[in-house]
């Protein structure tokens, strides 16, 4: 048990560093791509670093971008731990924002201290509803959640466009021919407090507090334990008397709720109105997808997702600076994010092999015991009746 034995801690250290290696690998591939585009990668990455962490303002912007990633990521930690692949973060953010914004543009006579929490909770509920629908579809109708959440994204985008161009449109825009899809501006008193002169808002702090709560939920409560148990072995959970279906729905409801909160915070903390360019990312900035990347990077652990979100928030902010300085489209970052995901899930094989070796050593006759309650994301070893 001594910590000084390198055979014990070294593999663990490597495990923890796997995502870092994956990112470095992705950045190296990115460097090759930059070279092919005849751009000096060192210059490009330096611009990115400066843009992300180079000044107080840059850092604040990074944290502003990291906030929705963290919130979406927390939801992803919950759902992926429950073996529910929620790809619907974009739609859940949108619906959360729509419902939260409705509060702000309706209750204009109310004081800010009442409206802000009501709006945030409403956004949370909005996301929960949008996540809950695929949850029910999966649990009770066997509809694959990956597909239904993607469909729900498409539906949410159209709902947003319809509302922001129609019933919820900014009255000043309604008169104009341009009809920019946006709502009226929120009252000054409804804004989340900011750390002036930057745009960093209270939402970032709330997100960090929630990360701790999600950690407690997953590892210190029965609900959380059951969500994880269902994710690891639904059959065993069923025999143990867990109502597997309910926990699938719960995982998606919570996952959607955090995305919904991310959406409403963009409105109350950053833009002070809901605005889009007609696409999902026009409102979300693709946080619904990038939150998945951050959560995976953070090892699907709520606390690990905090630094991961800051890193990816930094990449996004830095990409803008890179675009300005060396004229490389920020789309490069989307591509690199994709590579990080691929590399992170690919590197899991190392962890699994080691785990297997350890198990084989534990039982010399080779009869591998499938560990229930360990934290590996391996799906191959379990039968899944609920999976479509």
């Amino acid at each position: 048990m001594s910590n000084s034995n390198p055979e014990k801690w070294f593999p663990k250290l490597i495990d923890g560093l796997l995502p870092v290696f994956a990112t470095i690998a992705a950045l190296l591939v990115g460097a090759v791509m930059l070279l092919l585009l005849k751009v000096n990668p060192i210059e490009a990455y330096k611009a990115m670093w400066d843009g992300a962490f180079g000044s107080q303002n840059a850092l604040a912007e990074t944290l502003v971008k990291a906030t929705p990633l963290l919130l979406v990521g927390l939801g992803i930690c919950i759902s992926f731990r429950g073996d529910v692949i929620n790809i619907g973060g974009e739609g859940q953010m949108i619906v959360g924002a729509i419902m939260g914004t409705l509060v702000g543009i309706t209750l204009v006579d109310w004081p800010g201290w009442a409206v802000i929490p009501i709006a945030l909770i409403t956004g949370f509920i909005g996301g929960a509803i949008w996540g809950g629908i695929p949850g029910v579809l999966k649990a009770y109708f066997n509809v694959n959640e990956i597909l239904s959440t993607v469909m729900m994204n498409a539906i949410a985008v159209q709902l947003m466009n319809f509302l922001l161009r129609g019933p919820m449109i900014d009255p000043s825009q309604a008169e104009l021919a341009s009809k920019i899809p946006q709502t009226a501006r929120l009252l000054d008193t409804f804004r989340l407090p900011r750390w002036v002169p930057t745009r960093l808002h209270l939402g970032a702090l709330i997100a960090v507090v929630l990360a701790i709560l999600v950690y407690l939920l997953l590892w210190r409560t029965t609900w959380g334990y059951r969500i994880r148990a269902v994710g690891q072995n639904p059959d065993a959970s069923r025999y143990a008397g867990v109502k597997v279906r309910n926990y699938i729905v719960l995982a998606l409801i919570l996952s959607g709720a955090f995305a919904g909160l991310a959406g409403v915070m963009q409105v109350y903390g950053v833009n002070y109105r809901m605005i889009t360019d007609g696409s999902a990312s026009g409102f979300t900035g693709s946080a619904g997808f990038n939150g998945i990347v951050a959560a995976l990077f953070g090892g699907l652990h709520p606390i690990g997702t905090i630094p991961a979100s800051i890193l990816f928030g930094g990449l996004l902010v830095g990409a803008n600076k890179m675009q300005r300085v060396v004229q490389v489209p920020s789309a490069l970052i989307t591509a690199l994010n994709g590579l990080v995901v691929v590399f992170v899930v690919s590197s899991e094989i190392w962890r699994r092999r080691r785990q297997k070796r350890r198990l084989a050593e534990a039982s010399p006759d080779g009869e591998g015991i499938i560990p229930v309650g360990t934290d590996q994301g391996d799906t191959s070893s379990k039968e899944k009746e609920v999976e479509l």
Binding site: I155, Q158, V293, A331, A335, V340, V342, L388
Partner: protein, 310 residues
């Protein structure tokens, strides 16, 4: 105005464009069917399509040769399939998640290349409509089915071919065996890895064509994220079609006919908000998934990793 929808010209128009719109779904979903039948869920279809769409468009604009465009889209799709195959078969990466990674990669890279290599939105002269002699002169039917571009014909021809391969050939038997019971297939000497490499690369190739069919046959432009999630719909259509090529065809037709209907509703100025109309195919897909999916069984080994035991 609703009565406008029922006029002959409009009905023919809706059906003809419905057939045309089904093209990219067919290529992508037939490719995905092979993958899933062998036990691999490829969620990167949309990324592969975007890369295919850009490559075909770029090559077609630079060389003026549309077929060369298709060919390069196939190569790029196949390469992305190869990468996906390596990651899923050799590295045992979680399929759903690595697919998302490949999606983001294709989404970003196609946009990056577009901005760097072209920059502005251009149009290309895409595949012309081919009037099939005699058949295209049949009233109504001719107009709907036999005045389409060549990629439409190939897409529809692909359905019986895929059915034949999957159900009537040894290769198809091996693919299905690998997807249902890889351990048994392996013990009979079928290489699970080789079959899966084949199906994933085939799927990537067809996704590439699917993208090309949009950028150089249907729309004739390339834009950032021009598929807007079409590849995910294609994956849904495979479930919808119960992993059978004919079922996939039915799903693709249903989806694209509803899509075509909503486009015509907008063209005719029927007072349904266009945003609401665009939702219809997605809502329909969910409803049909609810109605069908619980009754059919997926390939047993779908999304499961296979590791040869010693």
């Amino acid at each position: 105005m609703i009565s406008d929808l029922l006029s002959m010209t409009v009905l023919v128009g809706i059906l003809a464009s419905g057939i045309r719109l089904a093209t990219p779904y067919l290529y992508a979903a037939i490719g995905e069917t092979f993958g899933q039948r062998s036990g691999v869920l490829n969620l990167g279809v949309d990324g592969q399509m975007l890369m295919g769409a850009f490559t075909a468009f770029y090559v077609a604009i630079k060389t003026g040769n549309l077929w060369l465009g298709i060919l390069s889209a196939m190569v790029v799709g196949a390469l992305m399939g190869l990468a996906m195959a390596f990651v899923t078969v050799n590295l045992h990466a979680e399929q759903g998640i690595s697919g998302i990674g490949f999606y983001l990669f294709g989404l970003g890279l196609s946009d990056l290349l577009f901005q760097k290599l072209l920059g502005t939105v251009e149009t290309v002269k895409g595949f012309p409509k081919i009037h099939i002699p005699f058949l295209s002169d049949i009233p109504v039917v001719g107009e709907i089915f036999f005045r389409q571009n060549v990629l439409v014909y190939i897409a529809f021809a692909l359905v019986p071919v895929a059915w034949f391969i999957l159900n009537k050939t040894t290769l198809g038997l091996k693919i299905r065996a690998v997807g249902e019971n890889p351990e048994a297939a392996d013990s009979l000497g079928v290489s699970v890895a080789r079959i899966r490499y084949f199906t994933i690369i085939l799927g990537g190739t067809l996704s590439g064509v699917a993208g090309a069919s949009m950028s150089i046959a249907l729309v004739n432009v390339f834009q950032q994220n021009m598929t807007s999630g079409l590849g995910f719909i294609a994956v849904a259509l495979v479930y919808f079609g119960a992993w059978r090529p004919w079922g996939v065809l039915a799903g693709a037709l249903l989806f694209s006919l509803v899509n075509s209907l909503q486009l015509w509703i907008q063209v005719l100025g029927i007072p349904i908000p266009s945003d609401i109309a665009v939702m219809m195919p997605y809502i329909l897909t969910i409803l049909v998934l609810v109605a069908t999916v619980s009754r059919v069984r997926a390939p047993s080994a779908l999304t499961k990793q296979f590791e040869r035991g010693d």
